[in-house]
């Protein structure tokens, strides 16, 4: 208690009670919902979703928050209203029967009313009071109060009564939405924003390039912080959802976990052995370079780990993608059946960028995948700045949830688009697929243009789309650069022949040496034999000489004896 007192700002924010709308995104951007017990003005042009938003507020109140509501319709009869919102899966009829919602159709027809003298709108108050009591309502919708200005002539009385009505609603402590048509240059045609000072929201349905986008803006919210931007919102079969783009902080945590790209060769090129979890990966390339094939490998790798993957296809139908991927040996159908893979296919021109964003946001919230594929982002055609800001938000959205984003981008043949350059800073890993043209053929090459936090390869590697998937071919680095395709094959053959020749050369040299060695050894033997022979001769002659010498001496001695002399 002392803590809240010491921080007045936080304390003040907490004291303002809020009524949750239950509308995805709206409660976030208003930090909790509409001001509880006070009227909120909801203005906008025709057909921008005022009635549906207001109805959603009531239905969610009755169904989710146990706050019954009253719908006072000045435009549509109860039957029409029930029928109109049935398209959003709201069973208003059942809620009315269960006394969760009361609908009162106030019909104001100028031609049926004659005015004579003073009057007030106590009748409306009585009806509203009666309806509120009948269901114990905490929420009230008045749609559209300004019809009164067309039905009744005395605007002075009307203004006084409307002012009284708002005060009365506040006093009754009901959370009210009052809808009003937007006027030229003013928020409402009859200026009733003067009387509602607590919260004003503006809806807008803008057409740009023949594509409409619904937007919501909180013009003011007294006593509370709120998002001030225009936020796209979506009305479809799942109801109303507003997309808050408030995840402006760069606070997402960085994961050290590496996940496989699905292609062994590519993992090798990336240094770390794959992509970091929760990063953004862009694959860019010209037509037919196999961007979707790469994406499919990634998808398969994600699903193989038992994780969920959401695939946003902007150009092909899911069936077409799956058929095409079967041709490279990837069958994604079982993954779809397992519930691990979900395709969301929609033509980019179907909605504006904001709508796509809103739709993606909702799908991501609902499916909570581990990875998301956007194929291809180049299909999202709009002003470069718009695409950039949308992708920034998608990536922020994915990163803040730790979802790995895999985006493909079709490049024009000339090379990098402007949009591409703008995007590079958003991407953590950028793989570029290139067509290498030479010798009358095109070959596919892949290189890692950037990969944050990884010691990645700087090589251009050739890859092939085979029936067993994408295969990276070992790089051939010749003297004139990287060789691909048949040039590589040719060079490899040349090399192989040269190798054979070199081997043969070696063998020949080896043999020659052998031969020389043999010859020399023979020579050595001959010489040795010669030497031995000569030695033998020498020995023999020495012996002979010795014998001769001995004989001579013997003879000399014998001679001396014969002569009678002594031996000297």
């Amino acid at each position: 208690m002392s803590i809240t007192a010491s921080i007045p700002a936080a304390g003040a924010a907490q004291t303002l009670a809020k009524a949750r709308t239950g509308i995805t995104g709206l409660d976030e951007l208003t930090f909790g919902g509409l001001p509880a017990g006070r009227p909120t003005l909801l203005c906008g042009g025709p057909g921008c979703g005022k009635t549906l938003l207001a109805t959603t507020f009531l239905v969610n109140g009755a169904v989710l928050f146990d706050e019954p509501g009253v719908f006072v319709s000045f435009e549509e009869s109860s039957e029409d209203l029930i029928q109109n919102v049935a398209s959003l899966d709201y069973d208003l009829g059942a809620l009315v029967a269960r006394k969760k919602i009361a609908i009162d159709f106030v019909r104001v027809e100028r031609s049926e009313i004659e005015e004579s003298g003073e009057y007030d709108l106590e009748g409306l108050f009585v009806r509203l009071d009666y309806a509120i009591k009948s269901v114990g309502a905490k929420r009230v919708v008045l749609d559209t109060l300004e019809v009164l200005f067309a039905g009744l002539g005395d605007t002075q009385i009307l203004r006084a009564e409307i002012r009284r009505l708002f005060a009365w609603l506040k006093q009754r402590n009901v959370t009210a939405i009052i809808t009003a048509e937007q006027g030229a240059g003013t928020l409402t045609r009859f200026g009733i924003e003067e009387y509602v000072s607590d919260c004003v929201m503006l809806l807008d349905n803008r057409v740009v390039n023949q594509v409409t986008t619904r937007r919501l803006r909180v013009v003011k919210y007294r006593g509370s912080a709120h998002g001030t931007n225009e936020y796209p919102f979506l009305i479809d079969a799942q109801g109303v959802s507003v997309l808050p783009i408030t995840s402006a902080g760069l606070a997402h945590s960085a994961s050290d976990v590496v996940i496989s790209s699905g292609i062994p060769g590519l993992n090798q090129m990336l240094g770390a052995g794959g992509f970091y979890r929760g990063t953004s990966i862009l694959v860019s390339g010209t037509a037919g370079t196999g961007k979707t094939s790469l994406a499919a490998h990634f998808v398969e790798a994600v699903c193989a780990r038992g994780e969920r993957c959401l695939y946003f296809a902007f150009e092909e139908s899911p069936a077409q993608i799956m058929r095409n991927m079967r041709s490279i040996g990837l069958d994604l159908q079982p993954r779809v059946d397992e519930g691990l893979l979900r395709f969301e296919a929609a033509r980019p021109s179907l909605f504006g960028l904001e709508m796509h964003l809103a739709r993606m946001y909702r799908e991501i919230e609902e499916f909570s995948p581990a990875a998301a594929v956007l194929d291809p982002i180049s299909a999202l055609r709009a002003e470069t700045g718009d695409v950039h800001s949308m992708l920034l938000r998608v990536i922020d959205l994915l990163k803040s949830r730790g979802i790995t984003a895999f985006l493909t981008n079709l490049l024009s043949v000339e090379g990098m688009d402007k949009a591409d350059l703008g995007m590079s800073s958003l991407m953590d890993t950028w793989l570029s697929l290139v067509q290498l043209e030479s010798n009358g053929e095109r070959n596919r090459g892949i290189y890692v243009l950037k990969s944050r936090g990884m010691n990645h390869s700087n090589q251009i590697r050739e890859y092939q789309l085979t029936s067993q998937g994408v295969k990276l071919v070992d790089a051939y680095l010749g003297s004139s650069g990287v060789l691909t395709g048949s040039a590589r094959v040719a060079q490899e053959m040349v090399d192989a022949a040269a190798a054979v020749r070199r081997a043969q050369d070696n063998q020949r040299k080896q043999r020659e040496i052998e031969r020389k060695r043999a010859a020399l050894e023979r020579q050595i033997q001959e010489l040795r034999a010669e030497l031995e022979a000569e030695e033998e001769n020498a020995r023999k002659s020495l012996q002979h000489d010795e014998e001769l010498e001995k004989r001579i001496q013997d003879e000399r001695r014998a001679m001396a004896i014969q002569r009678g002399g002594t031996v000297s």
Binding site: D104, V106, R107, V108, E112, I113, E114, E115, S116, G117, E118, Y119, D120, L121, E122, G123, L124, F125, V126, R127, D129, Y130, L148, G151, L152
Partner: protein
Amino acid sequence: MSQVVSTAMEDSLHPGDAHYNLRLYVAGQTPKSITALANLKKICEEHLVGRYHIEVIDLLEHPQLAAGDQILAVPTLVRRLPEPLKRIIGNLSNMERVLVGLDLRAVAPP
């Protein structure tokens, strides 16, 4: 069926003969509602002697009746008979407009 239509047509052609079933919706005994009832009685006594019936409904007592006759402003005078249904809102101080509203007088030429 055609008989009914012709009667209705006669009624509108000769409004002086039809019976008037009138309802005055008020919300409590406010000065406006008291004035309205007084004005209404005066008009009826002047133009519809013996062939009118006034029913005063206080919405504070019967709030559930407000929606049925599409009451928005009070006081509201509803002419239930003769048909078609007519609504006149206000304290009925402008007698000319009440007479026009009740088809008792043609719209004054400009």
